[in-house]
Symmetry: C2
């Protein structure tokens, strides 16, 4: 039972993933992945986070998994390749260890062969702005307009980041088993029925 | 509790809608809508079906709901307008009567003001071809290639038909509360958890 969560920024996808893992009694991997990459590769966590949250496509010559030539690549590109290779290894190891929820990090693509249940979490812009403000008091000082810009930017980078791993588009329904709109929904209330849905799905997709 | 179902052809959306209605103990409106339009307007059912399943956009000058001039319109266009006006009336009446599931017919757009729960049902092409064959023995004589073409054509027409009613795109996740991928899923198994999800949603969106 491997569940991946992809999500729009501010949609509550992380909360949904964590609560789903609790409901199902399985581990949830989120920021742990960044920490492990940082530790294993001797990078700073913020740097790993930066490389994966901002677009690395510009410095990144080819789709991961294809054959590529490392000669003549810039230092930043070499590090990006290292980080992504490490990420793939870590995520595959999680999957091999057993049932889990993995948030973000293109886990749906990395675990394509693992028969994972892939969820995409999204919401209307107004709902995302509201959630951002409630979630983080730091965001309270931001104007709505600034938050909208931030949300769009993060999502744009997520889409770009995904495009390194796959030709299919971030957020396109066909890449996911279920797309959940969290507008006007308190996440914790929908988790039991989602968990039930997922259990049923896995009974048919062992 | 008004639930609308939009769906890709062959995804099992109709079955899902009917079973969901049974589970929730509420009526499901599907082909009844066509029959009622035909009866009320004195058209033949097949004609009503044809007008709504094939693209009427070409003969249809303006977005429904906008002001339009009927002078000088072709007979076909006038009939299309009549049919769509009747459809809107019938669907709104269903919604006014109480809880129900409505399949297709742009009900999600027509009932925008009714706080409906909108589902989009989809599946991978292989799964849709398989379902088409299982569902209808008539389809057994079709080659896979022919079925793929048919599925694409029906969906293209559904997308076009929707574009008469709304600027938003058929199948785009933001138009729906939940997008359900039925690939490798037996519809009846997922209905109880979906019903639970929907009940929870309506508790928060009265």
């Amino acid at each position: 039972m491997i569940i991946t969560i992809s999500r729009e920024f501010g949609s509550g996808g992380r909360e949904l993933g964590k609560r789903l893992a609790d409901e199902l009694g399985i581990p949830c991997y989120d920021k742990e992945i960044i920490s492990m990459i940082a530790e294993n590769q001797g990078f700073d966590e913020n740097y790993v986070s930066y490389i994966s949250e901002t677009s690395i496509r510009e410095t990144y010559p080819v789709t991961i998994g294809n054959h590529f030539f490392t000669t003549g690549l810039s230092y930043a590109t070499q590090q990006a390749i290292k980080i992504n290779a490490e990420q793939t290894k870590i995520i595959e190891n999680f999957a091999k260890q057993g049932d889990c929820v993995i948030i973000g990090r293109c886990a749906d693509i990395i675990l394509k062969e693992y028969n994972s249940f892939n969820i995409f979490v999204y919401a209307h812009m107004d709902a995302k702005v509201k959630r951002c403000k409630e979630r983080n008091s730091e965001n309270e000082s931001w104007t709505d307009k600034e938050l909208v810009r931030k949300i769009r930017e993060v999502d744009k980078n997520r889409a770009k980041y995904r495009s390194i791993y796959a030709d299919t588009k971030w957020g396109d329904r066909e890449n996911y088993n279920l797309c959940v709109n969290t507008t006007n929904v308190e996440i914790k209330t929908i988790v039991p029925s989602l968990a039930q849905y997922i259990k049923t799905w896995f009974e048919q997709n062992k």
